[in-house]
C-alpha cells in the first residue's frame, strides 16, 4: 500500500521527469558516440574513460580560461584525444579493441586522479562558480506551463544540444551518403575499400566523434549538473551508455529510447528511498534489461558485421 502511494506521488511529480530527461541526455551523448564508433566497425567500451577525462578537463578548462565555452572546448578536446589514442591503437596498430578500451578507461582514471592531485596539491576538489557552469535555459512563457514547463522547457542547454545531435545523427547515418559509407565500413570494409571509401579515415573520424560526444557529456556532468569534479565521478555512467547503445540495437533512436528508460531508473532510485525499494536493487535494472535484450527476448541485437575486427588493406 505504502509502495503504491509513494510510486503514484513520485510518478506524478514534474521533478522526476525533469531528472529523467536530464540523466537521459547525459547517457545519450556517449551512447550516440558509441553508436557511430561501432557502426564504423570500431568497438568502443571506453566511453566511460572519455567521459571522465572530459568531466575533469571541463572544470579545469573553465577555471583556466575563466570562460564557460573554454570548459566545454577543453572537455571535448580531451575526450577527442583519448578517442584518438583508442583510434590509433585499434585502427593503425590493429590492437585488440577491448584491451585498448580497458586501457583507456584505466588511463583516464589514473590520469584524472594524478592531475587532480598535482594541480590542486591535494587540497579538495575543484568547484566552479555559477557563472562558469552550463546554464539551464528557460523558454519564456513555455516554461510556465504546469508540469510540461519544468520538464521540457527549463532543461540544461546541453539537453537541447543532445536532442539536436540525436536528430542529426539519425539523419546522418541513415539518410545521407556519409552515413552509408560509415555503415559500409562497419559491415564490410573490404567492399567499401574497393568502392573507393577510405576505411581508415572514416573509422578515425567516427572514433574521434565518439570521443567529442563523450567529452561533451563529461562537461555536462561536471560543469553542468554537479559544478564540481570528484575522482571517478562518472562511476559507470559510460557503461550504462554502452548498455543503452546495445539495448537500442546500434540505432540512434533506439539508444535514445533506452537512455530514457535507464534515465528513469536513475531518477527513480533516490526518490523511492522511503518506499522500501532498495535504490541499489533498482540500479541493477539497466544492466538486467540489457542482458534480457541480449538474450533476444525483445528481438535480437546484432552488432555490425566487422565490429571489432581491425581492417588490413589487401585482405579479401
Amino acid at each position: 500500500m505504502l509502495l503504491v502511494q509513494v510510486l503514484l506521488r513520485v510518478l506524478g511529480s514534474s521533478d522526476l521527469w525533469a531528472a529523467t530527461l536530464q540523466f537521459g541526455a547525459l547517457l545519450l551523448l556517449p551512447a550516440l558516440g558509441g553508436v557511430i564508433s561501432e557502426r564504423s566497425g570500431v568497438t568502443n567500451i571506453a566511453m566511460e574513460g572519455m567521459m571522465l577525462t572530459g568531466a575533469f578537463a571541463a572544470v579545469m578548462g573553465a577555471k583556466a580560461t575563466n570562460s564557460l565555452l573554454g570548459g566545454v572546448l577543453f572537455a571535448m578536446i580531451a575526450g577527442g584525444l583519448m578517442a584518438l589514442i583508442h583510434g590509433i591503437v585499434s585502427i593503425h596498430l590493429r590492437a585488440n579493441q577491448i584491451v585498448s578500451g580497458i586501457g583507456i578507461n584505466i588511463a583516464a582514471l589514473g590520469l584524472t586522479n594524478f592531475l587532480l592531485f598535482t594541480l590542486t596539491n591535494g587540497q579538495g576538489y575543484p568547484s566552479l562558480p555559477n557563472a562558469l557552469r552550463l546554464p539551464n535555459i528557460s523558454w519564456g512563457p513555455l516554461a510556465n506551463i504546469p508540469f510540461f514547463g519544468p520538464v521540457l522547457f527549463q532543461q540544461n542547454i546541453v539537453f537541447y544540444l543532445a536532442v539536436l545531435i540525436l536528430l542529426g545523427m539519425q539523419f546522418l547515418l541513415f539518410h545521407t551518403n556519409i552515413g552509408l559509407r560509415i555503415r559500409a565500413v562497419g559491415e564490410h570494409p573490404q567492399a567499401a575499400d574497393t568502392a573507393g571509401v577510405n576505411v581508415f579515415r572514416v573509422r578515425y573520424l567516427c572514433v574521434i566523434a565518439s570521443g567529442l560526444l563523450s567529452g561533451l557529456a563529461g562537461a555536462f556532468f561536471s560543469q553542468g549538473i554537479s559544478g564540481v569534479f570528484n575522482p571517478n565521478m562518472t562511476a559507470g555512467a559510460g557503461f550504462i551508455a554502452l548498455a543503452a547503445m546495445i539495448f537500442g540495437k546500434y540505432i540512434p533512436w533506439g539508444a535514445a529510447a533506452a537512455c530514457l528508460i535507464f534515465g528513469l531508473g536513475e531518477a527513480l532510485s533516490p526518490r523511492l528511498q522511503d518506499s522500501g525499494i532498495s535504490a541499489n536493487l533498482l540500479s541493477t535494472l539497466p544492466y538486467l534489461l540489457t542482458l534480457v535484450a541480449l538474450v533476444g527476448l525483445v528481438g535480437r541485437t546484432t552488432a555490425p558485421a566487422a565490429d571489432g575486427i581491425p581492417y588490413e588493406p589487401g585482405t579479401e
Binding site: 590493429r94 590492437a95 584491451v99 586501457g103 583507456i104 586522479n113 548498455a243
Partner: protein, 446 residues
C-alpha cells in the same frame, strides 16, 4: 619460366634441440612484455617530469616500497595473491578465445557468498566453515561466469558486453546486501567482521605455530601482512598448468581459442567447453574474492568496494603480460602487485601521486596489445624476435617461432573478437585448410 622451388616444411628441417625450440618460443612473448613495460615506464616518466617530479627517484621508491624489505614484500604479496587468481580467471577464458572482463563481478559474488555463509553460521567450527566458504565462493563465481558462457554458447551474446552488465549487477546486489540484510549494527555500509574461526592466519604466525616449533621462529610475526592464501594462489597456478597442459579439456579449449573452425571440424564440443571455461574463470575469480575477505583485516565487506577496486581488471593486464602461461601470470602478478604497493612509498617520499601506477598499467595494456612491437623487434637480437607466420599456405606450417598457447588474443586478433562463434573467425576463405594445419601443429608442439 621460373622453376618453382620446393617449400621447406617442418618435416624437412633437422629437428631442433628442445631447449633452443623453447627459447625461440619464449623470446617473442618475453620481449613483447619487456618492451611494453619499458615503454610504459618511459611515458610515465615523461608525465612525471612534466609535472615537476623526478621519475628516477619516483621509480626507485616504488621499487623499494614493493620489494625493498621483507615487510614491504609481504604487503606486496597480499595484492599478488588476488592478482594471481584474477589473472588466472582472465587467462583460462582467454585460452578459449573469450574475454573475461567479468572477473571483478565474479570476485564480488564469491566474496559475498563466503561472507553470507560465515554470517549465517557464526558458531560453526572453523574446520567446517573455511572449506565450505572456499568451495561455495568458487561455486558462486563459477555460476556467475557460467551464465556468461551459457549466453555465449546458447545465444551468441558477446561475452564482453554480458560480463560488463553482470559486473554492475553484482556490484549493486552486493551493495544492497551489505547495506541491507547483512549490515553491521550501528555502522553504515559495512558488515560486521567474520567470526574469528572463519579467518585465515597470517603466514608468519602460522609458520611459528607449526614448523616454527622445530625450526627457528620468525621474530615479530605480526608485521608481515601476507596470509596463507598465497599458498592457495600458488596451488591454483599449478592446477591451471595441469588443466591447460595435461587434460583433454585444456587441449580442446586451446584449439577452440585458436581456431574455432578447426575445433568444429575435429568434432570438439565447442559449446560445452565454452561454458566450462567461463565457469572455471568465474571460480578462480570467486576464490580471489573470498580468500581476500578471509585473509585480510578487517575481515568484513564494505559497500562500494567492489565497484571501486580494480583487481578484476588488473587481472587482464596480468594475463596479457604473462601471455596466459602459469609462470608468466606469476611474474605479471608480481609486477602489477609491486606497482600498486610500491606506489604508496613513492607518494610518501617523492610526492608523486600513487595514481601513476594506474597510468603505467593502462600504458602496459595499450602497448602490449598494439601490433607495432614487431616493428621494434626488427632491431633486436635474433632470439628475441617474433617470427611472424609466413603468409602463404605451405610455409605456414613451418612457423615454429609463432607465439603459442593463449596468444590468440594478441597475435590473431580476429579470434578474440568473434561475435558469432564459428561463423566468423576472420580467416580469408582460401586459407581455411592451411590454417587448420598450422594451428593443429602449434597445439601439438605445446
Amino acid at each position: 619460366m621460373a622453376v618453382p622451388t620446393v617449400p621447406r616444411t617442418l618435416e624437412q628441417r633437422p629437428p631442433e634441440p628442445q631447449l633452443l625450440a623453447r627459447m625461440r618460443r619464449l623470446g617473442p612473448s618475453l620481449s613483447r612484455a619487456l618492451l611494453a613495460i619499458i615503454l610504459a615506464f618511459s611515458l610515465g616518466g615523461i608525465v612525471i617530469t612534466l609535472t615537476n617530479g623526478n621519475p628516477l627517484a619516483a621509480y626507485w621508491n616504488m621499487f623499494l616500497g614493493a620489494f625493498g624489505d621483507l615487510q614491504s614484500f609481504s604487503y606486496t604479496l597480499v595484492i599478488v595473491t588476488s592478482l594471481i587468481f584474477a589473472g588466472l580467471s582472465v587467462a583460462i577464458a582467454n585460452r578459449a578465445g573469450l574475454f573475461n572482463i567479468g572477473a571483478q563481478g565474479q570476485l564480488a559474488v564469491g566474496a559475498m557468498t563466503a561472507g553470507i555463509i560465515a554470517f549465517k553460521a557464526p558458531n560453526a567450527p572453523g574446520w567446517l566453515l573455511i572449506p565450505l566458504m572456499i568451495v561455495a565462493s568458487a561455486l558462486a563465481g563459477a555460476i556467475w561466469g557460467g551464465i556468461v558462457g551459457l549466453l555465449k554458447a546458447w545465444r551468441g551474446s558477446h561475452e564482453v558486453v554480458t560480463t560488463i552488465m553482470l559486473n554492475w549487477t553484482a556490484f549493486y546486489i552486493s551493495d544492497y546486501l551489505i547495506s541491507g540484510p547483512f549490515k553491521a549494527p550501528n555502522q553504515a555500509n559495512q558488515t560486521s567482521s567474520l567470526p574469528l574461526q572463519a579467518t585465515l592466519p597470517r603466514l608468519s604466525i602460522w609458520y611459528n605455530d607449526t614448523l616454527g616449533k622445530f625450526l627457528p621462529q620468525i621474530p615479530q610475526p605480526e608485521q608481515y601482512l601476507v596470509d596463507v592464501s598465497i599458498f592457495f594462489a600458488l596451488i591454483a597456478l599449478v592446477v591451471y598448468w595441469f588443466i591447460t597442459r595435461r587434460t583433454t579439456f585444456g587441449y580442446e579449449v586451446r584449439v577452440i581459442g585458436q581456431n574455432p573452425k578447426a575445433a568444429q571440424y575435429a568434432g570438439i564440443p565447442i559449446k560445452r567447453n565454452i561454458v566450462l571455461a567461463m565457469a572455471l574463470a568465474g571460480a578462480f575469480a570467486g576464490l580471489a574474492g573470498s580468500l581476500h575477505l578471509m585473509g585480510q583485516f578487517p575481515y568484513q565487506l564494505i559497500g562500494t568496494t567492489f565497484a571501486l577496486d580494480t583487481t578484476g581488471f588488473d587481472g587482464i593486464g596480468v594475463a596479457l603480460l604473462g601471455n596466459t602461461t602459469p609462470l608468466g601470470i606469476l611474474f605479471g602478478a608480481l609486477f602489477f602487485g609491486g606497482l600498486r604497493q610500491g606506489g604508496n612509498l613513492m607518494q610518501l617520499n617523492t610526492n608523486v601521486p600513487i595514481d601513476v601506477y594506474r597510468f603505467i598499467e593502462a600504458l602496459v595494456l595499450l602497448f602490449i596489445t598494439a601490433q607495432f612491437l614487431p616493428g621494434f623487434q626488427r632491431y633486436l637480437p635474433n632470439w628475441l624476435r617474433v617470427n611472424r607466420p609466413p603468409a602463404t599456405a605451405t610455409l605456414a606450417a613451418s612457423s615454429v617461432g609463432a607465439p603459442t598457447g593463449g596468444a590468440a588474443m594478441v597475435d590473431l586478433p580476429d579470434n578474440g573478437n568473434n561475435l558469432h562463434l564459428a561463423e566468423n573467425n576472420g580467416l580469408p576463405p582460401g586459407e581455411k585448410l592451411a590454417s587448420v594445419d598450422r594451428h593443429s601443429d602449434q597445439v601439438e608442439e605445446n
